[in-house]
Amino acid sequence: MDFNENNKSEAKKILLLSALAGEIMLKNGAETYRVEDTIERICKSRMNIKYADAFVTTTGIFVSLEYQGEMMTYLIRIKSIKIDLNKINLVNEFSREFVNSDMSISKGLEKLKKINKVNNYSSWIKTLFGSLACAFFSLLFGGTFLDFISSYLVSLIVLISVNRIDKYKMIFFVNNFIGAVLASTLSILATKLGIGENMDIIIIASIMSLVPGVAITNAIRDTISGDFISGLSRGMEAIFSALAIAFGVGIVLNVYFKGMI
């Protein structure tokens, strides 16, 4: 009897472990089918658990498994998503290792908690490289060296302020809107001050860091794998981010053409 009780708590632990793994993946921008797959694999790898199923949407995880005729369910609500592809990769490697080896469950939990704290690049390096990406993008559009410099500076300021705003847990629409307003205002200022030459190119390059590339990619990958709910909700996210950027740029351009700046 005692032995049996012990096993039951182990089954609960493995449920927790799989849910935690799923949470880390989903929070950092993984596709839903990958999360579902990982959770099921982790659950089914131990103690003859025959039935384990996961239902994942972009905002929540439901996992349930059957152990000796008893159902256990766990639910996690995901509120914020930020992109960290390295963590997805680490959890992916972890699940492969966990399934193929005899790792104890508590050791697995420890490892997962460590993965959750890994910071691949400091936020400074991320901002510096992100704005470098935008600056090189201006060259791809035929910008001059001066455009390169000014779009670097503009997108640096945009990325820093978007990161700051992120800490207040605003909705993504406000984030993108403010980013686009800043990007276009600063680009106009830069051309006025003579740091940049082509205003169009600087604005286009500096909104590239806000553009919803991840949402588009994930929306499509979810839809193809049959997760229509997640695909639709990510698609809506992409559409509304694009609208926010467009309106932000549009308002500033309107003011600019009325001659107010």
Partner: protein, 145 residues
């Protein structure tokens, strides 16, 4: 010469986006190559077909297939390679020119540019669909054999 320049700039740009999305350190150069090949495909094919939509479609296919191959070979999630390569293709310029035309009350150009932007986004989607379903069907055939 222009193509080499475009390759280098898009390579560096993709690397920047890769770090912004914090991809694993060992994969930065590989995703940069995938992204740069996608951009060069975009550049060449949009000149050849005289349409950004067709160019984006082929570029998305190239990025998708390269991403899936790299993911298979290095055993990493495919999105690690695909996302930094797709971001430069997203029609930020189209969005800007549509808005510009709207602000100038030039609705003809706005409709033109807006439709093009929408179809570029659709072309990215269909490019990823084609490459992903291609790779998953190859996987299925290999499992059977």
């Amino acid at each position: 010469m222009v193509i080499i320049k475009q390759f280098i700039f898009s390579f560096l740009s993709t690397i920047g986006f890769a770090v912004l999305f914090s991809i694993p350190k060992g994969s930065i150069i590989k995703s940069g190559i995938a992204g740069a090949s996608g951009w060069v495909t975009f550049y060449i094919s949009s000149m050849y077909f005289e349409s950004h939509v067709a160019g984006t479609f082929f570029a998305a296919i190239v990025v998708g297939i390269l991403g899936e191959l790299l993911a298979r070979y290095y055993k990493k999630p495919a999105t690690v390679y695909i996302i930094p390569g797709i971001v430069p293709l997203v029609p930020g310029a189209g969005m800007y020119y549509t808005m510009l035309a709207l602000v100038e009350k030039d609705f003809y150009t706005a409709a033109n540019k807006g439709t093009e932007t929408f179809f570029i986004a659709a072309a990215i989607s269909i490019g990823i669909i084609v490459s992903t379903s291609l790779s998953s069907s190859i996987k299925r055939v290999k499992h059977k054999g």
